[in-house]
């Protein structure tokens, strides 16, 4: 029976096919994998997934790897197991960080997911992501007109609900922050901070579509260009030239996959934008008497390589004591919230969050600060369910708390 993959061009580039043979089985990827550490299942490691991928490609008959190693067969059950394996990953990218031979593992996992979707070999929950995004333009299938409804919870909610005809800066909220009550505290905080600093900004309301990140994570890359085009057009329609994101995944998505520079758009993550506001004197901060640690979100840190801006923001708050996590910056452990893992294996996601919270507690900090709504949501959910006495804050919330009274 022909598989659908034979009708489609391969999802794996020549480089990726070469990389499949480059693995030396050194196991460093397994040592840092949050899924392996939380579950003690070595089969979730990059090392093992590479083996499975080689087998999968060989099983498809005459191709590069089949010619190299001879073809092998793979039973339906093996295929299903392998597909589950491919989606049991937070896409945190730590495997890629430590790979001595420099295999671009995270890119490989994205291509693999695309391939599995092409060949109809994926967890059926992925269909939900597709349906939601195509029908309602946000990942949760909510009414997209309600994207800015959280604004009503602002203390002095303006009549225009922050959706303005024109503005210098667009604040791209992202789906999670727009719809999840726990995460809505972040745009509420950020909007207050931006207002306080007299930034001429606007939300996009229903004209904001999903950034497309869940599409890549779900192996649905083909659907992505429409979303990117729409979002960039919507920004330009506001007359805006700057876009700011509190969500690192939206930010990284734009940074890596949007052709924004050619349209004269400049993008900032909230940490970078906050730092500019603080350094320019637009934001006055008061003293905070607390000890905090910082969790680097995977997409902002290992992804977009922004490690210092959030630390400088934290250090610029008077009185605050900052302690690093044992594993920080490019070594930071994933919170468990990435890669759509929650939809596929909520238990594993929670186990990863547990390890993260334990690491946070080991620093003795009063609060863990991060700069990602998904990290906040994942860590906070775990801490609340298990009554762990730790505060979880987005950096925008920390700055909001430090806003000087005027």
């Amino acid at each position: 029976m022909p598989t659908r993959s034979e009708a489609k061009p391969s999802r794996f580039s020549v480089r990726q096919r070469m990389e499949l043979t480059a693995c030396t089985n050194c196991r460093l990827c397994a040592d840092v994998c949050p899924a392996v550490k939380a579950s003690d299942k070595g089969e979730l490691s990059a090392l093992n997934r590479m083996k499975g991928l080689r087998k999968l490609l060989k099983s498809r008959g005459p191709g590069f790897l089949a010619r190299l190693f001879g073809s092998k067969t793979m039973s339906d059950e093996e295929r299903r197991d392998f597909s589950n394996n491919a989606f049991s990953c937070t896409l945190c990218g730590n495997c890629r960080e430590v790979c001595p031979v420099g295999i671009h593992l995270k890119d490989l996992w994205l291509s693999l997911r695309e391939d599995l979707v092409d060949t109809d070999n994926f967890p059926k929950k992925i269909n939900l992501i597709k349906k939601n995004l195509l029908e309602s333009r946000n990942v949760f299938g909510e009414d997209n007109e309600e994207r800015a409804e959280w604004v009503e919870d602002l203390d002095d909610a303006p009549d225009d609900l922050l959706v303005r005809d024109e503005a210098q800066v667009v604040y791209f909220t992202g789906c999670t922050a727009a719809y999840f009550p726990v995460a809505q505290k972040i745009p509420l905080a950020f909007a207050e901070v931006l207002t306080k600093a007299d930034v001429d900004f606007s939300l996009m309301g229903e004209d904001e579509w999903c950034c497309g990140f869940p599409l890549l994570g779900a192996g649905l890359r083909d659907l992505f260009p429409e979303f990117a085009e729409h979002n960039m057009e919507a920004v330009l329609e506001k007359g805006a030239r700057e876009v700011v994101f509190a969500c690192p995944s939206c930010y990284e998505m734009w940074k890596e996959h949007y052709d924004y520079e050619s349209r004269g758009i400049v993008i900032y993550h909230s940490t970078q934008f906050l730092l500019r506001l603080i350094q320019s004197g637009a934001l006055k901060l008061k003293e905070l008497d607390m000890t905090v640690t910082y969790h680097d979100p995977c997409d902002l840190g290992r992804g977009a390589r922004e490690f210092e801006a959030p630390r400088e923001v934290i250090r610029s708050i008077p009185g605050i004591r900052f302690v690093e996590l044992p594993d920080n910056r490019e070594n930071c452990n994933c919170c468990g919230g990435g890669g759509n893992l929650e939809m596929i294996d909520a238990g594993l996601s929670a186990d990863i969050a547990k390890a993260k919270i334990e690491e946070v507690l080991s620093t003795g900090a009063d609060a863990v600060v991060t700069s990602c709504q998904q990290c906040v949501r994942t860590m906070l959910t775990y801490a609340k369910r298990n009554k762990v006495p730790i505060e979880v804050l987005d950096i925008t919330q920390l700055v909001q708390r430090a806003l000087a009274d005027s």
Binding site: M18, A22, T24, N25, C26, R27, L28, D31, V32, K37, D40, V98, P100, V101, G102, E324, P326, D327, N328, N331, A355, E358, E359, L361, S362, T363, G364
Partner: protein, 355 residues
């Protein structure tokens, strides 16, 4: 494991860890050594040469020796440049590590394999995760991190070494036996070198180099080319029987002791930044770390760990710092390849001259 109190917890059962654990135990300390792998010494990530001097230091069974080596032949570009006397042995690193760990065990160290350290809490308790069976919490007075270039223990102490160089290696059949290690410098092996170390009828062939994410060739590809070159020179034949890769620390940490934590071996950056050699330093510094950890426990004074910091610096500091300087030079001036190698490779007199 019923008991949770230990004087010294050693993390990692490589040469540094086993040497440290044994030395601490010989001082009368109660020592637990944990190793992440089920089997000590596996996978081997090493070119497997030890200097003859080290062998004399070790009072253990020598069954790990594969062959003696007389010295080293340095090739620059396509020329065999210089042969240097440097006696030593090619060993089986897995058996070497296992023998050292066994020695530590007979010295009284409790050894747990398949056990990972997850974190240390604010009170200094260390959480262990066992691959089989339940986890443990232990309360060590001193922790020795001998857990490699990406040291977990080092991160607890904020002592993170970001000066690491990637290396890859394959094992290939030798066309004929060799009695010298061979080292190859080539412009394409950026700020590093390729090695061919004879191991009986096969050889460890590998390289360590700076890679360039943007426009550089991948390290695996560079190794493939190097192997092709050695095949053409009729040094090796056939296909690789095993492959491995890892990271080589190329600068020592500025501090290796922080409170009750001491780092040793690759975790401390106790490797030669140019040659990558590290086993000898790991054993010697491991012993020092273990000895002072034992003393510190016995005298209830973790301040004594400073003596370890001082000890390894006195013994090895100048060598490691000079190597780090030479590596920096090599990286900065790699485009003047022929000129820079003699200044940066320790078989040449220029290496030791003032630059």
């Amino acid at each position: 494991m019923s008991e949770s109190r230990f004087d010294v917890l050693v993390v990692g059962a490589g040469p540094a860890g086993s040497s440290a654990a044994a030395a601490a135990a010989r001082k009368g300390a109660r020592v637990l050594m944990v190793e992440r792998r089920e089997t000590i010494g596996v996978p081997v990530r090493c070119a497997e040469f030890i200097p003859a001097m080290l062998l004399g230091e070790l009072e253990i069974d020598k069954g790990f020796i594969v062959q003696p080596v007389k010295g080293m032949k340095t090739h620059i570009g396509d020329h065999a440049e210089k042969t240097t006397r440097a006696p030593g042995y090619i060993i089986r690193r897995d058996r070497f590590d296992q023998t050292l760990a066994e020695k530590a065990r007979t010295d009284g160290v409790q050894v747990m394999t398949g056990t990972r350290v997850s974190h240390m809490d604010a009170d200094g308790r260390v959480y262990l995760t066992a691959r089989c069976g339940p986890g443990h919490v232990v309360e060590p007075r001193i922790v020795i991190g001998a857990d490699g270039p990406h040291s977990t223990v080092g991160r607890w102490a904020g002592l993170v070494n970001r000066g690491l160089l990637p290396a890859v290696q394959v094992t290939l059949p030798l066309t004929r036996p060799l009695d010298h290690n061979e080292v190859y410098f080539h412009p394409t092996i950026t700020a590093g070198y390729g090695w061919l170390f004879p191991k009986g009828d096969s050889a460890n062939v590998g390289l360590g180099m700076r890679t360039n994410e943007r426009d550089g060739e991948s390290i695996g590809k560079t190794l493939d080319r190097f192997v092709t070159k050695l095949r053409r020179m009729d040094k090796v034949s056939g296909d690789p029987t095993s492959r491995t890769a890892g990271w080589i620390p190329v600068e020592p940490l500025s501090r290796t002791v922080h409170g009750p934590i001491a780092l040793v071996g690759d975790a401390a950056g106790h490797t030669h930044a140019v040659t990558g050699a590290g086993v000898f330093a790991a054993v010697v510094c491991g012993r020092m770390a273990g000895k002072w950890a034992g003393e510190a426990a016995r005298n209830n004074d973790i301040g004594l760990l400073e003596k370890y910091e001082q000890g390894w610096r006195d013994f090895l500091g100048r060598t490691l710092w000079l190597a780090r300087e030479r590596r920096r030079k090599m990286e900065a001036e790699w485009d003047r390849f022929a000129d820079v190698i003699p200044k940066c490779w320790p078989v040449y007199r220029e290496y030791y001259a003032k630059h």
